[in-house]
Amino acid sequence: MDVTFFTAWIQEIIRVLSINRDLLTRLDAAIGDADHGTNLDRGFTSVRQALSDTPPDTPGQLLTLVGNTLIRRVGGASGPLYGSLFRQLGKSLGDAPEVSLDDLAAAFATGLESVTRLGKAAEGDKTMVDALAPAARTLSSAAREGLKPGEAFGRAAAAAAEGAKATIPLQARKGRASYLGPRSVGHEDPGAASAALILSALHP
């Protein structure tokens, strides 16, 4: 997987998040401050601009640029969190022109660590970690089993979507929704939902 592959992933994320902007904002209106969809759309629109201004040469460069742009342009808590994820993916992949599924799975594991370190959330806290963690685990086991990237991505996306849906009965323990206590129960976490969308954009 080279820079073209990762560019396609990012373009697909931009498309999917833009289509689902209002859905994410609706989820956030229920238990947050109703800006998740617009924040992410703004951040990834800036990503599109940054990529066309300075087209990166390697997957690592590209993902680092995506991370740095999100940190600066999203404006909500998801900016530093997704920014750290992508920046760490970029750092892990280094300057290799081509990366394997093994490399990507290992990078995802460290990316997840940087998200949990920054946000101090664990699985079950009703955050994006509830989608990212099962996806990272699934990618790692798919890489170990020697699956083709297409199949691995499909499984990771399914694991993320399942993780996002599983946040519905949970009570939020981190983020804006945690102020609501038991009233956060019964709603899908918007961060977990956007994380599942980002994973669903990963195609071979």
Partner: protein, 134 residues
């Protein structure tokens, strides 16, 4: 002198908290506000926080005091060990304590410790210590 940067979701909140801290600590203190997004909405801007850090940084270190959510995450991202340090303290009380101590020329660790003491100020019965009377 150690600098103090107040990072809030709201530009007005950060600005007024900085004014309060300066009012109590004296105009010589180095306190800057970084609130809201660049277009004035609620949120956090890395660029505004970086600018505020540069504004108060005199080489003795900078204390970041965030309020909530993305302010905290952004402040954590911008930490540089020994130089730019996050204070996990109540926003207003911590800001005043940090500014007052910084204005005395105290080093970074002392300013940080003083801000952290603000967590213990009691406002009910049994707490009489006033934040402007360190």
């Amino acid at each position: 002198m150690v600098g103090v940067v107040l990072v809030s979701h709201s530009a007005a909140l950060a600005g007024e908290a900085a004014r309060l801290a300066l009012g109590i600590a004296g105009a010589g203190a180095r306190v800057a506000a970084a609130g809201g997004t660049e277009d004035g909405a609620l949120g956090t801007s890395v660029d505004l926080v970086e600018r505020a850090i540069a504004e108060v940084d005199q080489g003795a270190g900078v204390i970041l005091i965030p309020d909530l959510g993305s302010s905290v995450l952004t402040a954590r991202l911008l930490e540089e060990p020994g130089q730019v340090v996050l204070a996990d303290v109540p926003f207003v009380e911590g800001a005043v304590a940090a500014a007052v101590t910084a204005a005395t020329g105290a080093p970074l660790e002392r300013v940080l410790a003083s801000a952290e003491e603000a967590r213990g100020y009691r406002k009910g019965v049994g707490g009489s210590r006033h934040v402007s009377d360190p």
